[in-house]
Symmetry: C2
Subunit: 421 residues, 2 copies
């Protein structure tokens, strides 16, 4: 078996993986700030389907069996010696943020394909099947919140819970999903969900630590928790030239007070806590009218469950206490508690990196990933590769061919270890 592992790892092709990453980046590609090659490929769109067709063509040439589930999650299966055993699952997602890059998500899918292709090419037959999955709508860039594919698969929420999400054009998630499934009606359909033997997802770090500390592989120990809120401040529109400030119910001003108070609530000298107001919408939004309504989003994350719960629960009260003349409503749109991966999968990843002579670092994930929904189902883990400056969700997001190949080699070895376990 050790010879088989070495052959499979040796069969991982840096050139092929890089070529595929670049070819995928053409689908939805654009030239962004600073001349960087960005990707804008929203889920459940013609671009998404074009990317999936390309992936399927590569997978079939590599000998993988393709199928799709009712949540449009796409599976590429390398059969094992015993097809009756629970497969090992790997993968990530293919959708991007509107100003996304060439690696976030798609790297984990293509590294997974590279791993099973290398394993097959080396003539290695794992005991369990290995399946590569492309989860639907991880980013939430079109339909927020994200991870609807993995949440549906794992039963974190019933699939119907997402039916009425709408995109900016008012299109319902259920309708976009039905359109995707209709366009892929030629693919074998599988039922929703199963219990994998293990789940291992490869991804760029999206943070600066591996690069800063000169490490080649990140052994991910868990994922911090997230809570997302939408706050709506309602006042009254008035004439900007005539209405005395003391008589106004200015939603912009009360919003500013609320965000200022939330900055204080969320202050963290250790800089572990993540608090972001990324979207603000003001109505009517004309320069010479007092704004009737101001709406903003909160993205709050922390690895410590107690902090996540205590400070998150304090948000509504802090917002209400900030209102001077307006009324506010605070809606929690999404909550995921912090998860710990335990030792099973991270141990396998660390051992594979060590066997290949690569340096590694144990670290938690700052970003949100489909992996967190797999934790209740099976031993779960992730491996990170460094990315330049820790930047993601931006056209300048970058990981070099060498870093990408190293991650794929560790992934191949770890998947084989799990599939033979």
């Amino acid at each position: 078996m050790a010879g088989g592992v070495a052959a499979a790892v040796a069969a991982v092709s840096e050139a092929r993986l890089w070529q595929r990453l670049m070819e995928m980046a053409e689908i939805g590609g654009f030239i962004g700030d600073g001349g960087h090659h960005g990707v804008n490929r929203p889920c459940l769109t013609p671009l998404d389907r074009e990317a999936r067709r390309l992936l399927i063509s590569w997978a079939r040439r590599a000998g993988a069996a393709v199928s799709v589930d009712p949540a449009a999650n796409l599976f590429l299966r390398l059969e094992g010696e015993d097809p009756s055993l629970a497969p090992v699952l790997t993968g990530s997602h293919m959708d991007t943020q509107p100003q996304g890059g060439r690696f976030d998500g798609i790297y984990g899918v293509l590294a997974g394909l590279e791993a099973i292709e290398a394993i097959a090419a080396a003539g290695v037959r794992p005991r369990r099947a290995i399946e590569v999955v492309a989860w639907t709508n991880e980013e939430g860039g079109r339909f927020a919140p994200g991870c609807t594919g993995s949440m549906s698969f794992t039963g974190f929420k019933p699939m119907s819970a997402f039916d009425d999400l709408v995109d900016r054009d008012g299109i319902r998630y259920a309708d976009a999903l039905a359109e995707q499934l209709a366009a892929e009606a030629d693919l074998p359909r599988r039922p929703l969900g199963y219990t994998p033997h293990a789940y291992l997802e490869a991804h760029i770090e999206q943070g600066p630590r591996l690069e800063a500390e000169g490490k080649e592989i990140g052994v991910v120990t868990g994922i911090q928790g997230s809570r997302w809120f939408t706050v709506s401040v309602e006042g009254r529109t008035d004439h900007a030239g005539t209405t005395p400030l003391r008589l106004r119910r200015d939603s912009v001003q009360d919003m500013l007070r609320a965000i200022g108070a939330l900055n204080t609530l969320m202050h963290d000298p250790a800089d572990v806590l993540r608090f972001t107001v990324g979207s603000i919408r003001v109505e009517p939004g004309t320069s010479n009218s007092v704004a009737r309504k101001a709406e903003f989003t909160i993205d709050f994350r922390h690895p410590d469950k107690e902090v996540l719960l205590a400070r998150g629960d304090a948000i509504a009260g802090v917002v209400q206490a900030s209102m001077t003349s307006c009324t506010a409503t605070v809606e929690e749109r999404f909550r995921a508690l912090p998860v710990e991966f335990g030792e099973r999968v991270p141990g396998v990843v660390a051992a594979a990196a060590e066997a290949q002579g690569l340096t590694s670092l144990r670290l938690p994930s700052g970003a949100f990933h489909d992996a967190q929904f797999l934790v209740p189902l099976c031993p779960t883990g992730m491996l990170f590769i460094p990315c330049r400056g820790g930047v993601s969700h931006h056209p300048s997001e970058y990981a070099g061919p060498d870093a990408c190949a190293k991650g794929a080699r560790v992934l191949a070895e770890a998947l084989l270890a799990l599939a033979n376990g």
Copy 2:
């Protein structure tokens, strides 16, 4: 002559004026918040032209001569005994804000028509002609800034200065203007601009003072100055879950600091100063990305020129000093210094109100009006009628039939006094 004035004032019809206000409100009318009847009638649109055709039909029945100038300002002329003398000019505008009401602007045009119709019906012939004007694009709701018609007429700016303004659909002002003039090619064309003998504009107060103090007529003493700015804060987009706050260049956070500092700069215990942030736009505007760019508007007004200049000039420095990690640009989009109307026209208005036994109050205008551009040309003034709660630019904007008629009667008497002077 005194008998003629009394007959003209008596010929003002409360019912006819109200009926016309309500009929006009159907053109662009909608049912808004609270079931109020709002009006959305942008300038230089088919709705604007429909409203102008209706006005023209009434004016012609009243014996007025209709003409249009190259800025699409529309004139209704009641001839005087000596057509060679400079006319007295009255009027206002017919366009509205997107969430506008039934009185702002259109009241001054229809009160002017009511006045000349009453004067004509009473068989009174003033020494000078009286012209009613409907200025193009006062509100700036479609093409900002507003008052382009009166600025063109008075030479405040050359008409060509507005050619390249664009609306939200990318349509140029010059093209919209050409379309309007082509649609009204059947109307006699007059040259742009002349020096009126005097200008008097009737308008709803758009503020709370007349109602609060129980006065029927506002004798307007001048118009406060306005400065409009757009501030753009540029940072960098980053992942909301991974990027430590100290490494971010978060445009939303620096924008908040800038507006907070501007609130301090603009603090006025007397509550005379008007400072409004009415529009905010954030990019990319997704909840889980740090915002790369935040843009906001400033509407700053004050009746004292020194305050307007000193604090307005301080804005850019205060914004720059608020930046911690982003860069900011501050652009002044519009500036109009405060104007004083002097005593000539306000004295005539006050005398007319007194002669009719109406209570009046001298007050400055908080809102911006076409009248301010007439000040360098001729004796200028305005008269206000109370409006409910001081509300304007909103469907709930309201002035009752009685208040509207009182304003029209004072306007008729004042116009006759000016036209005979």
